[in-house]
Symmetry: C2
Subunit: 359 residues, 2 copies
């Protein structure tokens, strides 16, 4: 079934300009040039600067590229945690970050809330010895969003800890105050509408210092993607390895397009498209929003619980040219998951909402 619109929560529909940029990348030999050449350094620099502008990233933050956000979980634990980390867990992805810490032999602590909710942040049992707090802004498996105010309150209560924010499926929609967090990461195949194969890691000087400190004490921080190595290469607009250069190039171009459109406009549209989708779910007899608390309802990944098998609904929509996601893990046949990313037009979302209402 070709000519599908992908509303899957990542990989998802490509940003509408990607095909054109891919052509220009091929025409200018982006895939063939050396990653030590001035051409590479120039588009690497543009990608970083464009992202910096789009996200309003302060000067004490650096931008690094990895193979995936999954890789970034490991690099954070390796570089920034000696012994103990603390995790807010409310779904499969926040749980996986916690498990990564365990796998690396850390004493990992967690507070857990049921799927579709977010952990309450009052009275968190975070000790002074917990060096890093992992918070998932947007849990892609359930569509639950931990409000930014929660994250900022945690920062106020625990100023000495490093705060790591998973914004895999919410950047650049979410307007983060970077002075109140230490590291944030995302994947390009979600809101940026790019082919998968690139994770983007934003880190401040506190994280880099922690990694350097660990290195000085002979602790394992990895090698080619350790923060000191990434920092040293990044200063020269380079990567330690031969990277996914097409991905870095395309990201720069898509961010340029987003800058032309304006991030405020993107946020406004995301809000209004999300309202259309939640409205459909609320009106329906077949669906209800899985996340009940309004302030926890994600604007970028909308999850509905279904009164009937979601597999049938998905099949039905596919016949109409719309591919949406099923539930994650245990919710496979009980949920539908819908991406509301910048590339999804209001018209497309309305078409989907109409189709949902008719079920």
């Amino acid at each position: 079934m070709k000519n599908q619109i992908y509303f899957t929560p990542g990989p998802s529909a490509l940003y509408f300009t990607v095909r054109e940029h891919l052509k220009s990348a091929l025409d200018s030999n982006v895939a063939s040039i050396s990653h030590r050449s001035s051409f590479f350094k120039s588009f690497y620099g543009e990608t970083v600067e464009n992202l910096r502008t789009l996200l309003k990233l302060p000067d004490n933050f650096q931008i690094f590229f990895t193979g995936s956000a999954t890789e970034i979980w490991e690099r954070i634990i390796e570089n920034c945690v000696d012994k103990e980390s603390f995790h807010l867990v409310n779904g499969a992805f926040s749980e996986r970050f916690y498990k990564t810490a365990v796998a690396f032999g850390k004493e990992a602590h967690k507070v857990e809330s049921i799927a579709g909710s977010c952990p309450e942040i009052d009275n968190l049992m975070i000790a002074e010895t917990h060096e890093l707090i992992g918070i998932t802004h947007n849990e892609t498996s359930t569509g639950a969003t931990q409000p930014l105010e929660d994250i900022y309150k945690i920062r106020e209560a625990f100023p000495d800890q490093l705060i790591a924010v998973d914004a895999v499926s919410s950047l650049p929609y979410v307007n983060i105050d970077y002075s109140k967090v230490d590291t944030v990461y995302f994947s390009v195949q979600k809101c940026f509408g790019l082919p998968p194969g690139l994770g983007v890691w934003l880190v401040n000087d506190r994280c880099i210092e922690k990694a350097e400190n660990r290195m000085r004490r002979g602790k394992n921080i990895g090698y080619y993607h350790s923060l000191p190595t990434l920092y040293e290469k990044g200063l020269k607009n380079q990567t330690p390895e031969t990277p996914n250069s097409m991905g870095i190039y395309l990201l720069g171009k898509v961010v340029e397009d987003m800058l032309k459109k304006g991030i405020d406009q993107i946020r406004k549209e995301t809000n209004s498209k999300a309202a259309i989708l939640y409205n459909s779910l609320n009106k329906s007899d077949v669906f209800k929003p899985f996340v009940e608390e309004k302030r926890h309802q994600s604007k970028t990944v909308i999850v509905g619980k279904t009164a009937v098998s979601s597999a049938d609904i998905i099949q039905d929509l596919k016949k109409k040219g719309m591919t949406i996601g099923g539930g994650y893990g245990e919710f496979k046949d009980l949920h539908i998951r819908i991406a509301n990313f910048p590339t999804h037009s209001k018209e497309q979302i309305e078409m989907l909402a109409d189709a949902l209402e008719k079920i």
Copy 2:
């Protein structure tokens, strides 16, 4: 300067069918589909099977995908070495594998030969305690090839050690007897002519057992790209993370094209094109092959030492539409490096050889 033929030793010219396959990938939504979907599993399976056929890989070997060959160095050390490794070093890349082991706190030993040569393999001081022997089949920085017979002799002398072979810039040209090695790895942006961003890791059961053994003893083997995790996911034609799915798809298609052409034909052509290039270097007053011993001269990365600045020569050839590589590291201005990969036609190589002779 557009319309260049890239003879750079990777990234290099794209395999001549890549543009077409990229179009078919976009048309069939490869970049948008879920990496847990049946479509993903089907092309992942095809890529693995095609590679298995092309390389004549025995059943006790698995094929895994990483972000780069640089990553594979780390994963080998993490998964397969408790305390000590041994490395044959003859250039920047073999040295970097050695340094990776050091960075991970291993007691790493090496035998070193000067750039442009290969270590002598008689009387190697390899102890029983050295768990893994790292050998670079084709040192991309100097164009020196360690003959396969050397590798097999090392295997005979040290049957208990794991043998890791860097074939980053020589597979699929090099016809390895996989019963005599334990792990081999390569990058797709060299002989396979693909955009960078994917490393391919071939591992046998001994490597996987070693990793499992380390895991049971509570040693750090990483998490998402540990051999047990890769193995578990690979059995289902999946990857632990959202991978570079376009890269995996394109690799499968290019290998299919290579199978149609026939690996014997590719090897024959590579030999004859290499002969043309070495002949030009030998005839020239300006160039000499950097690798003097004939049996060490790489067939896929031909390196010439230059009597004049190589930067000028490179600039000159660029004006004629041919981009070749400069020397690596300390040899930057003293060498030229030329890729002789499957996508480079005999006509292109002859044109380059002619131009070299005229300098």
